[in-house]
């Protein structure tokens, strides 16, 4: 069954520093992969998605993610974090058979001054 693993529950990054959030997926074929962000008290917002083609995907708010088939990973990156990036981030894979998004458990990003 398709699944995603986010190994980091919490990450703290200094404002202005770079960020990388990890995501590993389990899927037999080429996966449909997503990163969502959830700000406090809000619903989820799509940051970016990957289906095929260029393995480096650009998203909103200055985020990017790189698909690495050899490592079964889809890590999210940002070169310089802003205090407003503090939120919870979810990686997800689309299960085509059951027509549903399967979410990871999330990584909470804290930004220190």
């Amino acid at each position: 069954a398709q699944s995603v693993t986010q190994p980091d529950i919490h990450i703290t990054v200094s404002e202005g520093a770079s960020l990388e959030l990890r995501c590993n997926y389990s899927y037999g074929a080429t996966p449909y992969l997503f990163w969502y962000v959830q700000s406090p008290g809000q619903g989820l917002q799509l940051l970016l998605k990957y289906f095929s083609g260029d393995t480096l995907v650009q998203g909103i708010k200055g985020f990017e993610a790189e698909f690495k088939r050899s490592q079964s990973s889809f890590n999210l990156r940002k070169p310089s974090v802003h205090w407003s990036d503090a939120a919870e981030y979810f990686c997800a894979v689309y299960n085509t058979g059951f027509q549903k998004l399967v979410f990871g458990t999330g990584t909470r990003l804290l930004v220190s001054p």
């Binding site: 619903g43 998605k49 689309y94 549903k100 998004l101």
Partner: protein, 115 residues
């Protein structure tokens, strides 16, 4: 655009009571979903619908029911509320499956506590 609107935002229920969580979207999306979010567990799919009159179970459907009489509305019904249903509930919609276009849009959530 209002997007996906959920009501209420907060609710406390007593064990055994029932209630309906409302969800409406104004984007003419065909697909609608209900998720629950528990701490450290990510989001789990309860029910989904690919169009008016069509609903199907997700991963955790027990204790819930849904209906989809119109494209816009997708209410979630809790019968005989139990403490295990304490959670944050999210409704989402997408034009087609979430791989297309801008993916799935989420509401702001309903925080439900069953005591």
């Amino acid at each position: 655009n209002a997007g996906v609107t959920q009501t209420p935002k907060f609710r406390i229920l007593k064990i055994g009571q029932s209630m309906t969580l409302q969800c409406t979207q104004d984007m003419n999306h065909n697909y609608m979903y209900w998720y629950r979010q528990d701490p450290g567990m990510g989001l789990k799919l309860i029910y989904y619908s690919v169009g008016a009159g069509i609903t199907d179970k997700g991963e955790v459907p027990n204790g819930y029911n849904v209906s989809r009489s119109t494209t816009e509305d997708f209410p979630l019904r809790l019968e005989l509320a139990a403490p295990s249903q304490t959670s944050v509930y999210f409704c989402a919609s997408s034009y087609s499956d979430p791989t297309g276009g801008r993916g799935a849009f989420f509401g702001q959530g309903t925080r439900l506590t069953v005591v």
